[in-house]
Amino acid sequence: MNDMTPLLEIKDVSKRFEYVEALKSVNLTIGRREVVALVGDNGAGKSTLVKIIAGLCQPTSGGLVVRGEPVRIGDVRDANALGIVSVFQGNELCENLNVAANLFLGRELRTGCGIRDENAMVVRARAVLDTLSSSIQVGRPVASLSVGQRRIIAIAKTLLSEPDLVVLDEPTDSLSVMQTAEVLEYTRRLRAEGRSVIMVCHDLPDVFAVADRIAVLRQGRIIAVHETCETSYEQILAEMAGIVDEDADGRGDESDGVPAGGAVGYRIRVGTSRRLIERRGEQSGLPV
């Protein structure tokens, strides 16, 4: 497999619910080792898009291509099999189980014949939590954990399955400053380990803190994709609100963007930013 093949290509994906067209011909490419943030106002279609990637709903038309192969992600298990795991806000954990049980939920270690290897899971769970600088005890019931700790557990779950792509839905929502920092640090770490991340996030400072690229959704369309280092809060906010189109933002000339297919009626700048060059350089061992 060619290392330059994008990890995930979203091709012309539309999603129609009964009376609402939630996504309209969305195109987006997720490369390897990158954090892409999806931003947009409520109802812009962010959640629908990540649900399609996670296997929770099916596109009405269009499709997904993973590592160059067209795929159908029928459910969460299909997604997991393709190396895609998702963390959805508010629905992450089973309160009646302990931390270790939650971490391994759906991929329990076994001694054979469907019998769980509880010892191995406890030891491995502790090892993973230790790497997260977290003081959470693996034997504790999840019901006794704080919101932030739960989020950490939910995200730590992704570490166990060694995914290629992690989908995070509002990962920093309702977290304290310190907890947010920990989650963002964790997101960077996923990238450093060679994984890609798609995060839906309301909080622009968090987005700018970790994302390599920012895709702006509005009314079911992707209206712009920016390199984070080439854009600004103001521009993103304006695009989210639909105040500005690409010619009026005055930044068109600054980026060395080329038009790329995708958003109908808009131009998407896909820049080759310094940051991207740096990272590609690291990867290929070329001098930067």
């Binding site: 969460v76 009646n96 939920l105």
Partner: protein, 405 residues
């Protein structure tokens, strides 16, 4: 290593005998309640309740509730309910009786076919719940009507059982292979001692395992208390059983063996297997279970198949006990099984519950039943009292949870 450093730090946080008991108040509370109820009825019945033969009939009369409660607790943990089990007892019992009495089928084969019918009915109900998405309440309410109706069509008035071997399942005891040791059945005493040893070993093994992986084991004093209490209880039951029976036979009733084996197998499935973990996960947070890649439909489906199987076992036991199939057999059994689960600490909202808890719940109901009937209390009043006990048990559970918050 983190395992060794984590353990002492955690012990200080959770340790202490009283704290551990307080954390598991519900579990210990229900066992305590059962002991109190037993003592009260022992006094009220003038010591008749715990006479050996009366104790054996307590087990034989309540075996069906325990068997059904084993399946019901798993179904309720996964947030479903099964209202059809009583009708299934009549329906499958009817089939079993007809096979033996009208078709001349050997009783062993008839039992096998009955169990198979139970599995098929489980597949039928599981299909509607898991793959069509009809709530268990509705599916099994329909099943309750369907199978009661079919039982009436099949059985008509009644079908008496003539096979002595089949009738022996509910009446007979394990063979007296080790002879009589004084007034006691040797085999029963050996089994009792083995049970005590196995319980002690499992408790100590659990501690060692927890320590090995750096988890906090319960305080040693609690483990010792548990083993001592269990040894006393098992010892007393062994004494009762070993001295039970009549001139021909006595000791361990076959029904107790059937129930014991089912409890052990299903408790193992629920607490040690991946499937068991998934049952709790589905009950605790169905959405999270789905997002974790658990095939929740398959879990639901499998649960109803197990419930169908256990209903068939209960049907065979009940048929053997009554020695006659009737369309009215198993009336309200589903309610007894459901009540046993809730008295035994199963959460109304799902996700929480244990098979030993449900067994204790079944015994609470059974002892109340037996005690009141020995005292000659009217069955209508017995029903009322059972209803109040159920309400009280769940109320205590809910209020104690509210306090914790």
């Amino acid at each position: 290593m983190s395992a060794t450093t984590a353990a002492p730090a955690q012990t200080t946080k959770t340790g202490g005998l009283l704290a551990t008991i307080a954390n598991n108040a519900r579990q210990y509370g229900i066992v305590g309640a059962l002991l109190i109820i037993v003592v009260v009825f022992q006094i009220l019945t003038g010591g008749v309740l715990l006479k050996p033969n009366s104790f054996v009939s307590l087990i034989q009369q309540n075996a069906y509730v325990i068997i059904l409660a084993i399946g019901m607790v798993m179904v309720i943990i996964a947030t479903h309910i099964d209202l059809s089990v009583g009708s299934l007892v009549a329906f499958i019992g009817g089939i079993c009786a007809l096979l033996m009495e009208r078709q001349g089928v050997n009783w062993g084969l008839a039992i096998l076919i009955s169990l198979l019918v139970g599995l098929i009915v489980g597949v039928w109900q599981g299909f509607w719940v898991a793959y069509v998405g009809i709530p268990g309440f509705i599916t099994t309410l329909a099943g309750m009507l369907i199978f009661r109706g079919l039982a009436t069509v099949l059985v008509g008035e009644s079908v008496p059982i003539t096979s002595e071997s089949f009738r022996g399942i509910a009446r007979n005891y394990l063979p007296n292979v080790l002879g009589w040791w004084g007034p006691f059945d040797g085999l029963t005493i050996v089994l009792g001692v083995a049970c005590i040893a196995a319980f002690a070993w499992s408790q100590l093994h659990k501690r060692i395992r927890a320590q090995r992986v750096g988890l906090v084991p319960e305080p040693m004093s609690l483990t010792v208390i548990k083993i001592v209490v269990a040894a006393l209880a098992i010892g007393f039951v062994t004494y009762l059983l070993a001295s039970s029976g009549n001139a021909d036979q006595g000791g361990t009733p076959i029904m107790l063996v059937i129930v014991g084996v089912l409890v052990l197998i299903y408790n193992f499935i629920l607490t040690k297997t991946v499937f068991g973990r998934h049952v709790y996960a589905v009950g605790g947070n169905r959405k999270a279970a789905e997002l974790s890649g658990i095939n929740t439909r398959r879990v639901d489906f499998t649960l109803f198949v197990h419930m169908g199987f256990l209903s068939a076992v209960a049907a065979v036991c009940m048929l053997s006990r009554l020695a006659s199939a009737t369309a009215q057999a198993g009336m309200e059994f589903e309610m007894d099984a459901i009540a046993a689960c809730f008295i035994g600490g199963t959460a109304v909202t799902g996700g929480v519950g244990t098979i030993p808890g449900a067994v204790v719940g079944a015994f609470v109901m059974g002892v109340i039943n037996q005690g009141l009937s020995i005292m000659g209390v009217d069955t209508a009043i017995v029903k009322t009292i059972k209803g109040l006990v159920l309400l009280g048990a769940v109320a205590v559970d809910i209020m104690s949870k509210r306090k914790k918050r």
